[in-house]
Every structure is written in structure tokens, then in C-alpha cells.
């Protein structure tokens, strides 16, 4: 990213920062919910449970941001005009990495990646903003994301790594004869 682009994406108002944080947390929760639901539909209840748990945490964080925004007039930003590095909200665990037979360790690794991206976003805002209150909030949120990464690490350690043949399906989606 060039310095020009970085400057264009700099977040210097509390309202703009909280609008980003709220969307980040809402979209993270919505994404986890969608993945959890799809795993439940595809008879993978253990992984469904993990994603739905992540969704619950996401909703709690969104509520915290909403509370911080009480009394402020957050700007409306079209989805494609947020200052996300690659155009998409950073904490979205992308659906295209999902597999109906995935195992808990793989699911948690994807959640870990999403949390790390959220941390990088907040840390980036803290490093670039000119507004001390935005810096303070962004540092606080980045620290919270670091804590999530640590907790996820502990969670992952409780699960065995995925089996070598984790995607072996004795009755696979079949091409017709």
C-alpha cells in the first residue's frame, strides 16, 4: 500500500472509527452464524457449535461498540466504501474456505485467522490516526483482539489436529452414472 492510499484510508474521527468497528463486529458475527448454520444443515454439529459460539462472542462485541456509540451520530457508509484493506470486513471468516467435513481444529484455525485480521485492522488505525481518542479506542480494541487470539490458541490446543483423510466421505456428492 502506498502512503497516499494509507492516508486516504486514515480514520480520524471517533464516529467513523466506531462505524467501522460496529460493521466489523456485526459482519464477523453474521459470517460465523452463516457458517455455523451451514455446518448444522450438513450434519457437522461439532463444528457448527464452535462457529455459533464465535457468533455469540461477535454479537457481544457488537453490543459493546454500540454502547460506546450511544449519543453519537455514526455516519452511513456504503459497504464498498469502508476503509478495509482488501474491500471486505477484516474479521470475516471466508465461506470459501469451508468444507462440510472440516474438523474443529481447522474451523478454529480459520477463526484465528479472522481474529488476527481484526487485530491488524485496529492496530493499523491506532498507528495511523491523528486523533488521540481514536488511537486510544483502537489500541483498546486491538488489545481485545490479541486476547481473543490467545484464547483461541488455548482452545485449539484442546483439539487434535485434523486427520490426514479428514475429507474422506464414503458416500460423496456423486456425479450421476
Amino acid at each position: 500500500m502506498t502512503d497516499d492510499v494509507k492516508d486516504a484510508n486514515r480514520i480520524d474521527s471517533v464516529e467513523l472509527f466506531l462505524a467501522h468497528a460496529l460493521t466489523l463486529e456485526n459482519e464477523a458475527a453474521d459470517g460465523y452464524q452463516e457458517i455455523g448454520d451451514s455446518m448444522a444443515v450438513h450434519n457437522n454439529p461439532e463444528v457448527a457449535g464452535l462457529f455459533l459460539q464465535m457468533c455469540k462472542y461477535g454479537r457481544m462485541h457488537a453490543d459493546e461498540v454500540r454502547e460506546l456509540a450511544t449519543g453519537l451520530d455514526l455516519p452511513h457508509i456504503p459497504p464498498w466504501e469502508y476503509s478495509w484493506e482488501d474491500g471486505e470486513s477484516p474479521e470475516s471468516a471466508s465461506m470459501d474456505k469451508m468444507h462440510y467435513m472440516m474438523q474443529p481444529a481447522q474451523a478454529l484455525a480459520l477463526a484465528m485467522k479472522a481474529e488476527r485480521q481484526a487485530h491488524a485492522f485496529y492496530a493499523g488505525v491506532a498507528a495511523s490516526t491523528a486523533n488521540p481518542r481514536v488511537r486510544e479506542l483502537a489500541q483498546q480494541f486491538a488489545a481485545e483482539e490479541s486476547e481473543h487470539v490467545r484464547l483461541l490458541g488455548e482452545w485449539i490446543a484442546k483439539y487434535p489436529p485434523a486427520d490426514d483423510n479428514w475429507d474422506y466421505d464414503p458416500d460423496p456428492p456423486a456425479m450421476p452414472e
Partner: protein, 278 residues
């Protein structure tokens, strides 16, 4: 065109229904649903003023997953159903959604004439170059050498259909290609397509992870088009024919007059009956 509010009254989530999609985890159609609901929120449309009309296929299940009006119609017949709805209720925003099989095979002729008639519809084709729902047969956009189906073990040997070039030749008023791996970019294009009067054709590359797993590579091969939107059909045609089908963006915006039928009765029932008196 339908009057659009300036600020969104509902969030994108409010346009999703409580039904859980049965799509395979990883399917691109999830992202299209998300883009569509974001676009509806951005357009600030009330749910009762929108209808999503589909045919049959995995992609065509999308109306059930939205909270607006919807009709999951017959295979290949989404466009005629939507056309009927729009001419009868021009006040509604009508979005048509479906797959490459639904839209270009069995529904292919309706596709040509929908472009030609230029009724104010937005057509989203979730193109995965395969019949996903019926377990992986070749569709009109399948590459000629795709040999993964037992029905075409040596590939189809047939040149793939070029939906956007066909749409241009047939008279579509707005032509764009998007990618399910870019949900916010797709939401933007859907928003523009709905706002543009006339028939808007939006091809969305939407991976079928089950029967076309190599489409995961689209993550690296799909890119933004290296041209800006043109209003010149000849230029658009030249560019579309030279493109490999993996460039995204709004490629053409036309200004043909849209088809709006006269809804005022031009004669009374009595007048009509009098014509049949023997």
C-alpha cells in the same frame, strides 16, 4: 424506475429470511445472497416493494432466503414470470436470479428476448459453469475440455456460450460481471444495476465447490477489468470478445428506451363484448 430513498432504513440482515440455506459450505451463492441483501439495504427499499423471482437450481433457491416477496418458478422461466410481474406492477423493484443452466440452456430464448424487450428488471446470473443441483452436468458456459462429468467424459467439445456478448447483441441496457469472492464489490454493482433503468444483466462468477472445485482458483485469477465503463456498444463488443471471461466491472451502460406497457384501459369491457356480438 422505482423511486429510491437516500438513506437505508433497514440493515442487510433484515432482508434475510429465517430459513437456513442448504447450499454446500463454501458455495459462492452464499456471498451472492449477502451482496443482494446489502444492495437492497443500500437502496433503502421497503421489503414489500421488492420481489425476487427465480427458476430452478441451487442458485434459484435464493428467494426463499430473502424476506422480500419471491417466486421460485419453473426451470428456465424466471424471466417471463418476472416480466409479467413488472409490467403489471411497475412500482415494484423486480430482481431475477438464477443459474447458468436455468438462464442460458432451458431459459436461453427468454434471456434473448428479455434483453431485447428492455423491461426494467435486474437479472443476476450466478454462473458456476455447471448444473450444480442435478449433480454436475455441463452447462452452456462450461469450458469445452471439462471432462469431470460422466456424461461428457471427453469434455463437451462445444464452445462455451458468451453471456455478456449475447446480452449486448440482444439489447441489454446495463452489462456487468462480478465475482462472489468480492461481496462488497458485487453489492455495489447490484445497487447500480437496480438503479439503472431497463434490463440490467449481471453475471456473477459464483463457485460450485462440489462439482467445479477448480473454481477456487478464481480467488487468484479473477481481476478488475482494465477498462472503464463504455456507452459505446461497438467498443463494448470488441472488448467483450477479447476478454477471457474473468474480468469484472460494469462494462457497458446503454440508453435504449425501456418497455413500459400502457396500463390504462384503452377500451371498456362493453366495447370488447360488442366486437363479439353476432
Amino acid at each position: 424506475m422505482t423511486a429510491l430513498a437516500q438513506t437505508p432504513a433497514l440493515t442487510a440482515a433484515a432482508y434475510k429470511s429465517d430459513y437456513r440455506p442448504v447450499w454446500c459450505p463454501g458455495c459462492g451463492h452464499y456471498s451472492v445472497l449477502s451482496s443482494l441483501t446489502k444492495a437492497l439495504a443500500e437502496l433503502g427499499l421497503q421489503r414489500e416493494n421488492v420481489a425476487v423471482i427465480s427458476g430452478i437450481g441451487c442458485s434459484s433457491r435464493i428467494p426463499a432466503y430473502t424476506s422480500v416477496y419471491g417466486f421460485h418458478s419453473v426451470h428456465g422461466r424466471a424471466l417471463p414470470v418476472a416480466t409479467g410481474l413488472k409490467v403489471a406492477r411497475p412500482d415494484l423493484t423486480v430482481v431475477v436470479a438464477g443459474g447458468d443452466g436455468d438462464g442460458y440452456s432451458i431459459g436461453g430464448n427468454h434471456f434473448l428476448h428479455a434483453c431485447r424487450r428492455n423491461v426494467d428488471l435486474t437479472y443476476l446470473v450466478m454462473d458456476n459453469q455447471v448444473y450444480g443441483m442435478t449433480k454436475g452436468q455441463a452447462s452452456p458456459t462450461t469450458p469445452a475440455d471439462w471432462d469431470r462429468s460422466k456424461l461428457t467424459p471427453h469434455g463437451t467439445g462445444v464452445s462455451p456460450f458468451h453471456p455478456l456478448a449475447v446480452a449486448l447483441a440482444a439489447g441489454a441496457n446495463f452489462i456487468a460481471r462480478c465475482y462472489a469472492g468480492d461481496p462488497n464489490g458485487t453489492a455495489r454493482v447490484i445497487t447500480e444495476a437496480v438503479r439503472h433503468p431497463g434490463f440490467s444483466m449481471v453475471q456473477i462468477l459464483s463457485q460450485c465447490v462440489t462439482y467445479q472445485p477448480s473454481q477456487k482458483e478464481w480467488k487468484t485469477t479473477v481481476r478488475k477489468a482494465d477498462v472503464t465503463t463504455t456507452r459505446d456498444a461497438v467498443r463494448a463488443a470488441r472488448w467483450l470478445m477479447a476478454d477471457d471471461g474473468l474480468s469484472t466491472g460494469v462494462l457497458y451502460i446503454g440508453h435504449r428506451p425501456i418497455y413500459r406497457p400502457e396500463l390504462q384501459a384503452s377500451c371498456s369491457v362493453d366495447d370488447l363484448e360488442s366486437g363479439f356480438v353476432v
